[in-house]
Amino acid sequence: MAVVIVDTGCANLASVSFAYDRLGIPNTITKNKDIIQKAGRVILPGVGSAAYAMRSLQERDLVTVLQTLAVPILGICLGMQLLFERSAEGNVQGLGLLSGDVTRLNTGSYPSPHMGWNVLEDIQPCQLLEGISNDDYVYFVHSYAAHTSPDTLAASTHGQQFSAVVGKNNIYGCQFHPERSGKTGAKILENFARMGA
């Protein structure tokens, strides 16, 4: 099914689109409300700060549109963090589609940001992660994260354990960048496009 990538005003939109091009799955980047409302699959990408991204969604009048979608939504990296109620990064209110807050990742004695390839753990059976196994590597780059919760579909650990993949009803998120996570990431993007609504 075709995928609509929301133009959040953030800077890494092209790479998600290119990843779907490589899979041969039709995709569009847009900030047009009508196109997003009619989409079968919606991706919310993002790099940068939560405050900037939320402001950008507000300016584009997309907050309510995203909050009322019935089709599967996948937030990527910052896009996943925006799905929650609040982010400690700039103390910003999120879309509130998932319960809980995003807080600074406590990396302990390890470097921060959490940057590089880390393994998925505690994977729950779900369509999004079909064919993905514990210990598969994916590419992370972030300083903030969501705690593990009943919505966690896969976790990862860097100093502390956090949600690497979340999902509830039609709302999904990946803290890592599937578009830059080799075959594992490509499989997740493909699963998202093909999963039952």
Binding site: A11, N12, S15, S49, G116, W117, T157
Partner: protein, 255 residues
């Protein structure tokens, strides 16, 4: 656990990949897209593209190949060279680069680091540092892309690392110039000193020649990633061989 990264570095000059010894005498090693694809398929964890002519020739890197690389590969890559403004950085990120790296422009105007952090977040801002040991101290040099234009900066390396992190660098690539291209091993002493004060990911650059050099820089200097060019370009050390060998010694490596 977070894997240690193996990072081929592609020095780009006039649209092709080149490699010199100690930053001089550049020879052409191949096509940007061909090498990017080959390294990604071989298991590189990330790629870094340095447009080494950019700072010295006062021009920004050519845009087209960044988009082409982004479309082609499914691993992250960083673009460096002549990025002197938030706008220039925005262009690279919009083209699909995952991170941007700044070196000489940050030395000329350190506020650039703060501006980039504010615009895009620390996580995609890399500060590259060319460090030269003059027998007494580790000193930062700038404009190293052309031997004739290289400048002293008056800064000491460890001070500059601390300042760059304070201003918003999300990663430091420390290139030890004395070791660059000579394949006698990374500068473990300098990298270990840098590691002690570097709270963000630290990438070693300069001197890789054999598997034990990578093993040492991870085990002794505790860096997050190791960058190398000639050993990969000349196929002295194929990436799969390197990664399997490192993994077999117990180092966390993505195979």
């Amino acid at each position: 656990m977070l894997a240690r990264r193996i990072i081929p570095c592609l020095d780009v000059r006039n649209g092709v990949v080149v490699k010199g010894v100690q930053f001089r005498d550049h020879e052409i090693v191949g096509d940007i897209l061909e090498l990017a694809k080959r390294y990604a398929e071989q298991g590189a964890d990330e790629l870094v593209f340095y447009d080494i002519t950019a700072s010295t020739d006062e021009r920004i890197v050519d845009r087209e190949w960044v988009t082409q690389v982004s479309a082609l590969i499914d691993i992250p890559f960083c673009v460096a060279g002549g990025i002197k403004s938030v706008e220039a950085a925005r262009v690279r990120l919009e083209q699909g680069a995952d991170k941007i790296s700044i070196n000489s422009p940050a030395l000329l105007r350190p506020d650039l680091i703060n501006e980039l952090r504010d615009a895009f977040g620390r996580q995609c801002i890399v500060v590259g540092i060319d460090s030269f040991f003059d027998g007494k101290a580790y000193r930062v040099k700038s404009h190293t892309g052309d031997a004739g234009k290289t400048r002293e900066t008056g800064r000491e390396t460890l001070d500059w690392i601390s300042e760059a992190i304070e201003r918003g660098a999300g990663e430091i690539v420390l290139n030890c110039m004395n070791n660059d291209g000579v394949r006698t091993g990374y500068d473990l002493d300098q990298l270990s000193l840098a590691r002690k004060i570097c709270s963000v990911p630290l990438i070693a650059s300069g001197g890789a020649g054999e598997i034990s050099h990578f093993e040492d820089v991870f085990n002794i200097s505790n860096v997050d990633g190791a960058l190398a060019a000639s050993v990969f370009h000349k196929n002295i050390l194929p990436i799969p061989t390197l990664k399997t060998a490192l993994s077999n010694t117990g180092i966390e490596i993505r195979i």
